[in-house]
Subunit: 263 residues, 2 copies
DNA sequence: GCTGTCTACTCGTCTAGAGGAGTTGAGCAA
DNA sequence: TTGCTCAACTCCTCTAGACGAGTAGACAGC
């Protein structure tokens, strides 16, 4: 039976460390030392109860601790498993360079295919709405001013990995393909450049936090998985902010990579 | 009594949503709507038991859910409180520019003082050890090769916010102040440049995950707070990697900011 | 004024049990 | 072979209670 071979730990009754923490320590160590590999099943609650001679809640507390650390995931009716490590997608700092855009594909699609993964976009919505305060500040529009809001969700190989919401000043978007669900070849950055707003630079602000319930639902995030929040502001050659993109990315699916000059 | 005014929610017995989740939903909504502000005390377990007419474990499950979401923190003997939002430190992408270094201070010290916070560095250790695999790869040294390892912990206003470990090829560090606990004015980058390794660029790889137990201990992280892991490689003008700095930062204390050219 | 104690209140840990619901595989029936 | 039922096993939800330990305020005694 999977996982049984790790049932070797002994409780230390003299320790002032809580019993459930001692059990969690045993299991954690088994995972970190590789006695349990990603995807392996932990001993069932019943087996752990028998082995350590403790009540059910004590075992569950131990497992709960590992869950919040992101080390294991439980599946109702099946068991508790060491969390498999997903493929990590590397986002390079040149991913919005114009040369990539010229190929006629939006950044996400182009680089995903290059990495050998199957990209998909769904839940595309285009509306007009008041800009949230922090977005309005970045776009240099009045708080509450109506802007065009484009939101969508990206998936890789069937797994949702990222939600993104773009905010564009209304006068830059109205009457263009930016208002369509499909913004056309090269994405909205290509459309903005066609309008004469040649892009010069982007500023990305990166945060990390635990997902909201809504985000966990959209990105299929279990407990113990944080998200990146990435707010990117696009500036044209006149220094005007022409778009702000607010992205929430599954923290275990991404590695961000940036290049900094030493000046 | 603090928090009592939010005791207004009603359970929906017809709902198939678990009772403890309904209670968590009520409390979460109270926090998000501002009926409970950062620092406010939630109703005690006893009050919630009375109000919802449920068992203690049910209430504790609800609170546990909010804890793993990072919304509340519990304090033994005092109560459960809405997590106060700490001051966020913004790391700009030019923070390692030479002009900052010339002022004679290491990056962390200089920018913290500029932001009006009191910086501190402790737990400084300098040793020689084998480079971990991913570090060796970045440094372009043989796996397991001995390098100089400098680790330290940074605090702001008394709160530890970041641990950092630098790896420097041994032949670049031996016989220099880099081996000392105090690397001198301008930090180790200044020392490397004095050795003729003029820095040209940095590459930063950014990850997010939940902290290990050790990291949570060093950074005083409660449940529900993720960390940034930031691995920075410094390249000199010859394209040689002269240092790799592996940093773990409290996720709620930092905002990273990068500038990307559109090319 | 200071100190130590006492008490009420708080969350932490643990036990012992009940019923429910999702998953899986064996075995049987069509 | 295919499809169904059923039992065993899994984790999920919830109850009811016990004892422990940290906190904070009231209060008596010095």
């Amino acid at each position: 039976m999977a996982g049984d071979e790790i049932l070797v730990g002994q409780l230390d009754p003299a320790s002032d460390r809580a019993v459930f923490r001692q059990i969690a320590d045993h299991l954690r160590e088994a995972i970190e030392r590789g006695r349990l590999s990603p995807g392996d099943k932990l001993p069932s609650e019943a087996k752990l109860m028998d082995h350590y001679a403790v009540a059910r809640m004590t075992v569950r507390n131990a497992i709960q601790e590992l869950q919040t650390e992101g080390l294991v995931v439980s599946e109702h009716g099946r068991g508790v498993f060491v969390r498999p490590r997903p493929q990590v997608k590397r986002l390079a700092s040149d991913r919005f360079a114009r040369r990539h855009r010229k190929e006629g594909k939006a950044a996400f699609i182009a680089e995903s295919e290059a990495a050998g993964a199957a990209p998909a976009v769904d839940m595309i919505q285009v509306t007009e709405a008041a800009a949230p305060a922090d977005i309005a500040e970045r776009l240099k529009v009045a708080p509450g001013e109506v802007v065009v809001v484009r939101s969508r969700r990206y998936s890789l190989d069937g797994r949702p990995v990222e939600t993104a919401t773009s905010y564009i000043p209304a006068e830059l978007a109205r009457g263009t393909q930016i208002m369509d669900a499909n913004p056309g070849l090269g994405g909205i950055y290509a459309r903005l450049e066609e309008q004469g707003h040649t892009l010069e630079r982007f500023v990305e602000d990166v945060f990390t936090r635990m997902p909201t319930r809504e985000e966990a639902r959209l990105l299929l995030l279990g407990p113990g998985i944080p998200v990146f929040r990435l707010v990117r502001t696009a500036f044209d050659v006149n220094g005007r902010a022409v778009e702000v993109c607010d992205t929430v990315m599954s923290g275990d699916a991404y590695q961000l990579s940036y290049e900094l000059p030493a000046h």
